[in-house]
Structures are given as structure tokens and as C-alpha cells.
């Protein structure tokens, strides 16, 4: 009897925890996850390369968000999404030693893009994605993107994957992740057949930390993707397809596409994401601006209120 009661108690506890998790603003969950990644990565592997980078990125993103929202909306908005952008940039940007300007300019460009590059009152690019793409394309001599492992510690990776999947599910964007990953694997097999590279080499990127950040924080950003579940899945598949195109071009060394080769997924999303959102917005009726549209531009909150993920 005792074990049964214990099991029941455990289930009830988990259920309560899950319900409470669901009641939380999704931005808190995302902020928690990316902070977890930051803390684990820094203490295990020293991924930041100096706290000045983190401080610069966070200071610039939050200050820019505060200033632009006050200037253009008349009030200072919730700074959580700026916090998430700042941490994303700190994790993903790997510039030359001693350079802080990529974090400062990247932070400003990321946040400002939300206020400047807009269509029908929606920003088109995921801010981190836009800033990283701009830095990679305009300043490749100074900036690279995270391309390293964070060790081979399976436990660390499992923790990030477990939290990532749970939170993606709770935030209602798991379908994006679960579309992109199989598409990537499928297209990796196609690339393997096409270019003759070892199959594991083609699948390998998916096992790295850059992809963990990409599939949990960037491609899942509902504010910069289309309005329906089916549409978002289609966009995820198209991003994977565009990425595969860039990768095949890289394998054949097409010189004119060389600037895209250092980070195919980031740049594929920067190309496909805004086009899809623009197309989606242009064929739907204008949506009146909402109070939360700017202050939660990067994360799930406004359109992932209960029911939002069931638009389809």
C-alpha cells in the first residue's frame, strides 16, 4: 500500500508542478532555461570568455529596450526579452579576443531591429538572429559564432535537452522544434547521398550546443513566425531546407555564397523567417496593436496565451 501511495503522491506532485509551470508567464520559463544554460556552461566550461562580454550585452540590450520603448511607446516595457537577447548574444557571439563592440553594437542592433524593421506592427526578425546575422555578414574579420562543444558531458547535455523540451512543450512551441530536427536529419541524409560526406558528419552539428540554443531559443520564437501551428511547422521545414541549400553550396564551394557558410542555420532563419512572416501578415487582416506587442517582442507571451498554439 505504501509504495502505491507514494507513487500517487509523486504523480500528484508532478501534476501540480506542471500546472504551476503552465501558469507562469512563458518568458520566465525561457529566461530560466537560458540562464540555466549560461550558468552551467560558464561554470563547467567557461563559455563566456569573460564577464565583460555578458555585462556589455545585457547592459546594452536592456538599456536600448528601455530607451526605445519609452521613446516610441511612452512607457518602459518589461525587460525580460532584452535580458534573453543579451544572454543569447553572450553565448553565441565569439569575437576576437578583447573586443567588446560586437556585444555592444550587436545588442543595440538586436533590440533596435524590433522597433525599426516592422510590418503591420510586428517585427520581422528574431532580434538575436538578426544581430548575429548582421555581425557575421558585415564583420566576419572580427566576429565568429559559437562553433565549439561544451565538453562531452552527456549529463549536462541531457539536462539542457530535458529542460528545453519540457519548456518548449509548456510554452507551446515544441512542434517547431520537433519539425525542424527531423527535417534536419532527413536533409542531412540527402546531403550525405549528394556530396558523399560521412553521414555522421552531416548529422553531427545537431549534437552541438549552438543547435541547442538555435532550436530552443531562436527558431521557436513565435513573435517572428507565422500565426498557425501548421504554418510554423512549414516554416521550420523551410528553414531546414534553406539551411540544407546553404550547406550544399558550401560543399560545392560556391564562392558567392561564402559569407553564409560559417553559420547556415542562423542565416537560413534570417532569410526564411521574415519572408514567411511578411507573407503571412500580408494575407491576413491587420491585427490591431496590442499592449504586449512591443514589450514581449521576442518571446511567446502575447500570442501564446492559452489557445494560441491551437490556431490551426
Amino acid at each position: 500500500m505504501e509504495p502505491t501511495r507514494t507513487r500517487t503522491g509523486w504523480r500528484q506532485g508532478a501534476s501540480r508542478w506542471w500546472t504551476r509551470l503552465g501558469a507562469l508567464d512563458p518568458r520566465y520559463l525561457t529566461a530560466f532555461l537560458i540562464t540555466l544554460v549560461l550558468v552551467v556552461g560558464e561554470f563547467q566550461y567557461g563559455i563566456l570568455g569573460g564577464y565583460a562580454r555578458l555585462a556589455t550585452a545585457l547592459a546594452v540590450t536592456t538599456a536600448t529596450e528601455a530607451a526605445l520603448s519609452w521613446l516610441l511607446r511612452g512607457r518602459v516595457v518589461n525587460l525580460q526579452s532584452a535580458y534573453i537577447t543579451g544572454i543569447s548574444l553572450s553565448l553565441l557571439l565569439k569575437p576576437q579576443s578583447g573586443l567588446l563592440w560586437p556585444f555592444a553594437l550587436g545588442g543595440f542592433i538586436a533590440i533596435a531591429s524590433k522597433y525599426v524593421l516592422r510590418y503591420r506592427d510586428r517585427h520581422l526578425w528574431n532580434p538575436s538572429n538578426f544581430a548575429i546575422s548582421v555581425l557575421l555578414l558585415l564583420a566576419p574579420g572580427s566576429v565568429a559564432i559559437l562553433s565549439h562543444q561544451w565538453g562531452n558531458d552527456l549529463a549536462t547535455n541531457l539536462v539542457i535537452w530535458a529542460f528545453g523540451l519540457a519548456i518548449a512543450l509548456r510554452v507551446g512551441v515544441l512542434h517547431v522544434t520537433l519539425t525542424y530536427v527531423p527535417c534536419f536529419v532527413l536533409l542531412a541524409l540527402v546531403r550525405h547521398r549528394l556530396v558523399g560526406s560521412p553521414v555522421l558528419a552531416e548529422v553531427a552539428p545537431l549534437t552541438g550546443p549552438m543547435y541547442q540554443l538555435f532550436i530552443f531559443f531562436m527558431i521557436t520564437d513565435p513573435r517572428t513566425t507565422v500565426s498557425t501551428t501548421r504554418g510554423r511547422m512549414l516554416v521550420a521545414a523551410l528553414v531546414a531546407l534553406a539551411e540544407a541549400g546553404i550547406r550544399i553550396a558550401a560543399d560545392y564551394d560556391l564562392a558567392w555564397l561564402r559569407p553564409l557558410y560559417p553559420s547556415p542555420p542562423i542565416l537560413a532563419l534570417a532569410i526564411v523567417g521574415p519572408l514567411a512572416l511578411w507573407w503571412d501578415l500580408s494575407r491576413s487582416r491587420p491585427v490591431p496593436a496590442r499592449g504586449g506587442a512591443i514589450d514581449s517582442p521576442e518571446q511567446a507571451a502575447p500570442i501564446l496565451e492559452p489557445g494560441a498554439s491551437r490556431h490551426a
Binding site: L71, L72, Q96, L105, L138, W150, S197
Partner: protein
């Protein structure tokens, strides 16, 4: 009003984009032309004119590695300097790395010409099937008979040659107890227990059970790009005297299995005992502090924070503080990877750690390999030379993208060489320009390679410095992978003074390897160490050279001999080489 505000934000946004582009175009790794003729010195490549026509050939490997051969076989070019025949002129030894291709020993004839005598000396034909191929060499008088002996380390069996004098060498490897297969890419002579006999540290790269010509498995690669510890085990051999060595690796605690590419020995913490500094590929640098010759302790010293691709260890006194600072080369490639070189100020005395101050041109030298400190313009401040470039092949095909597929992946994927994409004829950080960083004291280091005449685009591996023509200036010798050896003859036009020392140990090893010389002059006090192997696959002249700038007087010279004895010399005359024999006491 709102529209105007949006316009303001848009303008700021556009300005940020413009500024990013401008900063991108003015990245510190780009060449900024400066006026020639202001340097005060000039390098001229004279290898062929001096009779040096050596060309390195990369190893051929087991066919199982054909798809990755250029990547794996990209090591082996080395140069080491020694006065082999004791005629007062530094000679040069270059290694080759393909079966049947000879190493070269260029005897400095003294009239600006060199002559290869390796074959008659018996140190040419070392690259043979079943024996392995040469990766580098270090000279040191291990038997204290007054003649510099030769240790050639290999992917294979190392070979120790006793210099018999008269340009004759005897292979004493077996008797010395050194005939153990090791895929070594660095070696250092140093006397860790101060018993007057040179001991030997061998740094292994690939595991020692890997035979590249009879592979049992392709699971031979590193299992992490940042934290790999599955490399070969380094070895410390204690010189017992009588031509015999004993493996004391485990007892002394220096058997690192990181992927060691370079090592250097010096007394970094000023306790009178030589320490070991390792540059490891796919992992952090390691500093083993010597505990009075009884054991070594791996210390953090601020080194474990960085995990990079260390490829050379150069020692120099950057700021004339009387300390030995450390420069370690790493990889930088636009868009893909900025590990950055490390220029570590030695603050062990006051802070218990090194502080990395590398940025700009110091941090980014491409795919950097060999490096050495030396005062090339004799202005009293030590300069820094860096050679670089990994694989220069087809200019239209690049391997960086292909490598990036696996670089961030789980280690058990790329640990197996079979899972690496085919490299074919692609380049990988090829055709890079070397760097010559002139030390402008408080103005920092400036890259003047192009103006100075260091202009080749070969895949540089090793660089050594020596006053080859006994003129009081340091010349450069560069060993290129799969390319010709180069000799850059230095001409210093500026009216600078210099002083140099040739040390002979008595209680210490005869080569005086590990002796530390500190010169006190108007420009401060500068320290140098007698080299038992440093940089990458290289060894500088045993004679230590100091530029003095305008100073016409040296107040004092302090020599700390490897035996622990300290010797001071007051007011030695400048502009000359001093022969100093260790006092017997």
C-alpha cells in the same frame, strides 16, 4: 512626433549597421601599411643564396586516412640551432617527414654559406619504414663532453645521437633506454633535478599505440575540440649519467595525456627550479611547477580558464621586468573561429597567476604555429615573430566549412577519423602571412612583417632565432611544412647596441640549458633563458642575445645557472659576445 522619433531610432539603427561594417573592415588582423624605412631593420630572404636548398615533405600515411591525410600529416617541419662543430658559427638542423627523404644538417661555413653534411654525419637517413618519421629535433650536451648531442623526436622511435666530434654521430638510443614508440611533436632538454645532467621531456600528440603506417583503428583523433585528454602520454626521462635514461614520468607527475604540441622549460616562479609549460591542442595550457626536483605539481595559474588550440610556447621578457612571459599561438579564422593567441604576463610572484593581455594583432595571427621572442631591431625591447598557415592547397576550395560540421559535435563522432569529411585538395587557413610584432614599449606591439620583408606565404611551422653571421643581430630561420626552409638575414640600420653571452656550464650541464641571464641597462632589466627547445618544433641558438637600444653601458648582468649558482658581472662591455664559464666554486 512619433514618426520623428521612429525616424531617429531608424537613423541610429542605420548608423549602428554602418559602424559595424566599418569596424569589420578595420579588423585588427588586416594589414595597415606604414611607412617603410622607419623600422631600423630589414629582413632579406637568402636561403638559396646561402646554400640552403632544403624542402620539407609531409608524411604519407595508412590508406585508411587518405580522406584526411593533408590534415593529419600537416606536421613535421622543424628547425633547431646548435654549434655542432664548436667553431663559433651556429649550424642548422632541419627535419623531413616522409620515408626516404633525408633530414639536413647545414654547417655554417662562416662566410655566409652553409653546407649540408647530414649524410656524412649520419643524421640524414632517419625517416624509414618501421622506424617512423621525424617531427623535430633538439640539441643538448647530455653527456657533458662539450659537444652538442642530437635528439630527433618522431612519430615513431625517437633517436638520440651522441656527437663524437669531428662531425661524427653515434646512435645511442637503445643503450640510453629511449627506444619506445611515441608520436611526439615536442621535446625539451632541461635539468629538472639540478644534478648537472640534461633530462629529457617528450610531448606526445597522437596516442603512442597508433602506428600511422599500420593502423588498427581509425578511432585515433581527439574526442573533444576543447577538453581532449585522449592524446599520447608525455614522457619525462631522467638522465642517470653514463648515457642511460630512466622513465620517471609517473613518479614526477608530468604524464599529461592532452594533445601536447609544444613545451618549454624555465623557472617561472623564481624558486630556482625549472618548471614545464605545455601548449596543448584541443585543451588548456598546463604549467607544471617543479617541487625542488622531487615532483611536479600541475597548477592553475589562470591557464585553465582558456581552452584553445595551443601550438607553440615562446618565452620572453615583454616589458623588461626581469620576468619570463609566455606567448602561446592559437587559431583565428574570420567568421569561423577566434581563439586568439595568448600573451601571458607572468604575475606568479604577486598574484600567483598569468594574465592574458593579447588583443588585436597579437591575438589574431591566423592559424598560428611557431613563435619566438627576440630583439630584432636591437632597441632594447624584445619583439615577437609568428609563422602561420595550416594547409595551402587549392585556393578555390576551403575546408573550414566542412570542419565546422563536426567541430561543435559530440566527441565520439569526430574521434573516429572515418567520420571526418574528405579534405581533398582544399586549403585550410592557407597562404597566410607571417607576423612580426615589433615591441614599441608602452605603445604596444605593432605588426611590421610586410615592411620588414617577412613576406612569404608558405605554411610556416617552426621559427628559430640566431645570430647566424656573428654580427650582433638576430636572423630568422623558418621551417615550412611541405615547403622550402627560409633564412631571413637581418640588417639593423639603427645605431643600436647589443650584448650576447655564450655560457658554458661546469657544475651545470655544459650546454648551460636553463641558465637565466638578466641584463640591467638603461632600458630596464631583461631576462632570457638558454633554450633547450621552445616555440613549435624549434630551438634557438644557445647563445643569448640582448638589444640595448641607445644604451652604451650595461650596469650588471646576473646569471642564474641551472645548478642554482648565481653569478653577477658588473659593467661588461657592450657590442660583443661574452664567453662565460660557470665558476667551479
Amino acid at each position: 512626433m512619433s514618426r520623428w522619433r521612429w525616424l531617429g531610432a531608424a537613423l541610429a539603427f542605420a548608423a549602428a549597421l554602418g559602424l559595424t561594417g566599418w569596424l569589420g573592415r578595420h579588423a585588427p588582423n588586416r594589414v595597415t601599411p606604414r611607412g617603410a624605412g622607419t623600422l631600423g631593420f630589414r629582413l632579406q630572404e637568402v636561403a638559396r643564396a646561402s646554400g640552403i636548398d632544403f624542402a620539407h615533405h609531409e608524411p604519407t600515411l595508412d590508406p585508411k586516412l587518405d580522406h584526411l591525410a593533408p590534415y593529419i600529416a600537416a606536421l613535421g617541419a622543424s628547425v633547431s640551432v646548435a654549434d655542432v662543430n664548436r667553431d663559433g658559427w651556429p649550424d642548422l638542423y632541419f627535419t623531413n617527414s616522409r620515408f626516404g627523404y633525408p633530414n639536413a644538417l647545414y654547417l655554417n661555413v662562416g662566410n655566409g654559406q652553409f653546407r649540408d653534411v647530414a649524410a656524412e654525419a649520419g643524421v640524414a637517413d632517419l625517416n624509414r619504414e618501421g622506424e617512423g618519421v621525424s617531427m623535430g629535433a633538439v640539441w643538448g650536451d647530455f653527456d657533458n663532453d662539450g659537444w652538442e648531442d642530437l635528439l630527433v623526436y618522431k612519430w615513431g622511435y625517437p633517436q638520440l645521437f651522441r656527437n663524437l666530434g669531428g662531425m661524427r654521430f653515434q646512435d645511442v638510443t637503445q643503450a640510453a633506454g629511449l627506444r619506445h614508440w611515441i608520436n611526439a611533436n615536442t621535446a625539451v632538454w632541461f635539468d629538472y633535478d639540478r644534478d648537472g645532467l640534461l633530462d629529457l621531456y617528450l610531448g606526445a600528440y597522437f596516442r603512442s599505440d597508433v602506428n600511422f603506417w599500420d593502423l588498427k583503428t581509425t578511432r585515433i583523433m581527439h574526442n573533444s575540440f576543447e577538453f581532449a585528454t585522449n592524446g599520447g602520454k608525455n614522457r619525462l626521462y631522467h638522465n642517470l649519467g653514463g648515457g642511460r635514461f630512466e622513465d620517471v614520468t609517473d613518479r614526477m607527475g608530468v604524464g599529461s595525456t592532452r594533445w601536447t604540441l609544444a613545451a618549454a622549460a624555465a623557472d617561472f616562479n623564481d624558486d630556482g627550479w625549472p618548471d614545464l609549460y605545455l601548449a596543448n591542442d584541443y585543451g588548456p595550457e598546463e604549467l607544471f611547477l617543479n617541487q625542488q626536483g622531487k615532483t611536479f605539481v600541475l597548477t592553475r595559474a589562470g591557464l585553465s580558464d582558456d581552452s584553445k588550440s595551443g601550438m607553440a610556447v615562446a618565452l620572453g621578457d615583454l616589458l623588461n621586468r626581469g620576468r619570463l612571459d609566455v606567448f602561446v599561438t592559437n587559431i583565428s579564422e574570420p567568421g569561423y573561429l577566434f581563439q586568439g593567441n595568448n600573451l601571458r604576463l607572468n604575475l606568479l610572484g604577486e598574484a600567483g597567476r598569468f594574465r592574458n593581455i593579447a588583443e588585436g594583432v597579437v591575438a589574431d595571427a591566423g592559424w598560428a604555429w611557431g613563435a619566438q621572442f627576440g630583439d630584432l631591431d636591437n632597441d632594447g625591447w624584445t619583439d615577437l615573430v609568428v609563422v602561420n598557415g595550416f594547409i595551402s592547397a587549392d585556393r578555390d576550395h576551403d575546408y573550414w566549412y566542412a570542419m565546422s560540421k563536426i567541430a561543435g559535435a559530440k566527441g565520439n563522432i569526430f574521434e573516429d577519423a572515418r567520420n571526418w569529411p574528405r579534405i581533398g585538395t582544399a586549403s585550410l587557413s592557407g597562404y597566410e602571412r607571417s607576423r612580426l610584432l615589433i615591441n614599441r614599449a608602452s605603445a604596444g606591439l605593432k605588426d611590421v612583417a610586410e615592411e620588414a620583408g617577412l613576406t612569404d606565404r608558405y605554411d610556416g611551422r617552426a621559427v628559430a632565432l640566431a645570430d647566424l653571421f656573428n654580427r650582433g643581430v638576430l636572423d630568422l630561420i623558418v621551417a615550412n611544412q611541405n615547403g622550402p626552409a627560409l633564412l631571413y638575414r637581418n640588417t639593423v640600420a639603427a645605431p643600436h647596441h647589443w650584448i650576447a653571452f655564450h655560457l658554458v656550464g661546469t657544475r651545470s650541464n655544459r650546454s648551460a640549458i636553463g641558465a637565466e641571464v638578466t641584463v640591467e641597462f638603461a632600458g630596464g632589466k631583461q631576462r632570457r633563458v638558454v633554450d633547450g627547445g621552445s616555440g613549435f618544433a624549434s630551438q634557438n641558438d644557445r647563445r643569448v642575445h640582448f638589444g640595448l637600444g641607445a644604451a652604451t653601458r650595461v650596469r650588471r648582468v646576473v646569471i642564474r645557472w641551472p645548478s642554482g649558482q648565481e653569478q653577477a658581472i658588473a659593467n661588461p662591455p657592450v657590442d660583443r659576445l661574452h664567453l662565460v664559464v660557470e665558476p667551479q666554486r
